[in-house]
């Protein structure tokens, strides 16, 4: 298979990454190279094989519903690009 420029732009849109025309073109070449490597998978008959999502088959642990974290809002917001009155600031989204 081979991707098209339109698909590269579409995927960049889904990933929320701005991509220029020249970047899209060089990315297309690289992605096609990588997908030609990945294609080796497609010839393998995997019918009946259970997909392996994780390295170890373990069930998620449950724990008691209790408070485990203290409030460290000031410390965590100190690394944010922009905050005000304990809130994260972003460009206006509702007119």
């Amino acid at each position: 298979m081979s991707l098209t420029l339109e698909q590269v732009r579409r995927v960049a849109h889904l990933a929320r990454i701005d991509i220029s025309e020249s970047e899209a073109e060089s990315t297309l070449g690289h992605l096609n190279g990588i997908f030609s490597l990945i294609e080796a998978m497609q010839a393998v008959d995997t019918r009946g094989i259970e997909p392996m999502a994780h390295a170890r088959d373990v069930a998620q642990r449950l724990r008691e519903d209790r408070v485990t974290e203290e409030n460290r809002r000031a410390a965590f917001q100190a690394v944010a690009p922009e905050t005000e009155a304990g809130l994260y600031l972003v460009p206006k989204v509702i007119e």
Partner: protein, 487 residues
């Protein structure tokens, strides 16, 4: 003191031959001298390191020291450390000062080790040469025109150049073992789930695992003793009894210390695709293992050739999800100019991520997108099962699996940087181990044209102590691991 093992340094500190402050300062001085060229460290903070060293000296004076108390250890810049800039090799986190400690950092602090600084790495651990770092490439101390491997390239170069006695790494597809091989170190990737991932910046969560990089198997064991253990803050951390990973190393076992050990040689590791110079060293190591009493048996991992393809679906898929958190809102870089919220996301991510990280996010987004999920992501997960089952079958015939770590020695800076596929193939022998979740090591086994060659040892689940013993007995009989580059 420079160039001594952790074990030797522990004895020197306990015997008051040197203080932790003196030992830390010695290494800081060496970093100041060598790092401008090698570029193994992104952040050095002498004040913080020396404060930890003073605390360690107080513990030692009170007789409360352990095996690592007072020893400076470099930390890969993927581990969040409170008060330290933690960049993950990315512009996205270029100014991020962590408000908390990763479990691994906490555990080293509890053991009294000194954080010697944060080491350079491929951006978000995506790379095999350390060339994708926003903070510039790392130079291999064995030949400064060559790469140290990656993604834990800064950790490897720091230890190889004797700027640090040991360092931490993380390994998603070979990122501890391959740089260890290229820099003449001993590195261990534990069984998935043995070391907590909490506070370790995520790349591909079902594959990421932290481990030690040092000069001997014994030192790796001492570090793993400090790093391993259940952590309820990591949902994939395994609840297991505490082990002493060095427990097999002290025994006096005579001339054939490995008699009874069955070493599996997968025929897929010994076919085409490996440099002749590398293979010659691996063959010599096999002969040495036979002299040590081990028996060898041919095994097969028939789906090995599918490991790289499956990995480059699974790892980017997980990465595209993990890295969606970098949106310029809660922490990290935010683009200076934008029109609206969506534009802010797009510009922030376009400017904050480097080319390789973007490529992997795009691959991951694509394979998870509507209409492609079954053909790529599910197919890759089914192949992952086949690969894991191959190892299960192989371990019915043998105790450990042996082969090369990397198909080549350290390559030139820039040599593979323009071709992602060539770069990805650097990890053909290491990636399958991550997909299966098994423990793997790389140990020095000789030189080809003056460059170090790594021998890979793969164990069954939770066989770290045995792997370390298999490595240790080889290191008692050989001295490749003691070789250091000319300063």
């Amino acid at each position: 003191m420079i160039g001594r093992t952790l074990k030797e340094l522990g004895a020197a500190l306990a015997g008051r031959e040197i203080s932790s402050v003196e030992l830390t300062q010695l290494h800081l001085d060496r970093i100041a001298r060598l790092n401008p060229e090698i570029n193994a460290f992104i952040t050095v903070d002498a004040e913080r390191s020396l404060a930890q060293a003073r605390a360690a000296d107080a513990r030692l004076a009170a007789g409360e020291g352990g095996a690592l108390t007072g020893i400076p250890i470099a930390q890969k810049d993927i581990f969040c450390a409170e008060g330290w800039r933690t960049t993950c090799g990315s512009k996205m986190l270029g100014d991020f000062v962590s408000p908390y400690d990763a479990t691994v950092i906490e555990k080293f602090a509890a053991a009294g080790a000194v954080n010697l600084g944060k080491t350079n790495m491929d951006e978000f651990a995506m790379g095999s040469s350390n060339e994708t770092s926003h903070f510039g490439p790392v130079r291999n101390p064995w030949d400064r025109t060559r790469v140290p491997g990656g993604s834990s390239g800064g950790s490897a170069a720091a230890v190889a150049a004797l700027m640090a006695p040991a360092a931490t790494g993380t390994d998603t597809g070979g990122s501890i073992r391959q740089p260890a091989a290229l820099c003449n170190l001993t590195g261990l990737k534990p069984t998935y789930g043995v070391v907590s991932r909490w506070g370790m910046i995520a790349f591909a969560s079902s594959l990421d695992q932290a481990g030690p990089m040092a000069r001997t198997a014994e030192d790796c064991g001492l570090m793993l003793n400090a790093m391993a253990g259940f952590d309820d803050r990591d949902s994939t951390s395994l609840e297991r009894e505490t082990e002493d990973y060095c427990r097999e190393l002290a025994a006096n076992v005579g001339e054939k210390p490995l008699s009874g050990l069955k070493i599996g040689l997968p025929k897929e590791f010994f076919g085409e695709g490996c440099d002749a110079g590398v293979m010659a060293c691996v063959q010599e190591a096999i002969a040495e293992y036979r002299r040590l009493g081990a028996e060898t048996v041919e095994v097969s991992l028939p789906n090995m050739r599918l490991a790289v393809p499956a990995y480059y679906v699974i790892a980017p898929a997980e990465a595209s999800s993990n890295l969606s958190r970098y949106d310029g809102v809660r922490y990290g870089y935010r683009a200076p100019d934008y029109a609206d919220l969506d534009d802010m996301y797009r510009k922030t991510r376009a400017q904050g991520f480097g080319a390789e990280v973007k490529r992997r996010i795009l691959i991951g987004t694509y394979v998870l997108s509507h209409g492609y999920y079954d053909a790529y992501y599910l197919q890759a997960q089914r192949i992952r099962r086949l690969i894991a089952d191959d190892f299960v079958a192989a371990f019915r015939q043998c105790d450990v699996i042996l082969g090369p770590t990397s198909p080549c020695t350290a390559f030139g800076l820039g040599e593979k940087a323009a071709d992602p596929v060539q770069m990805y193939l650097s990890d053909i022998y290491t990636i399958a181990v991550n997909l299966a979740g098994l423990p793997g090591m790389s140990i020095p086994c000789g030189f080809s044209a003056g460059l170090p060659v790594g021998l890979q040892l793969i164990g069954d689940y939770f066989a770290e102590a045995r792997l370390l013993n298999v490595a240790h007995r080889y290191q008692q009989a050989t001295d490749w691991h003691l070789k250091t580059p000319d300063a």
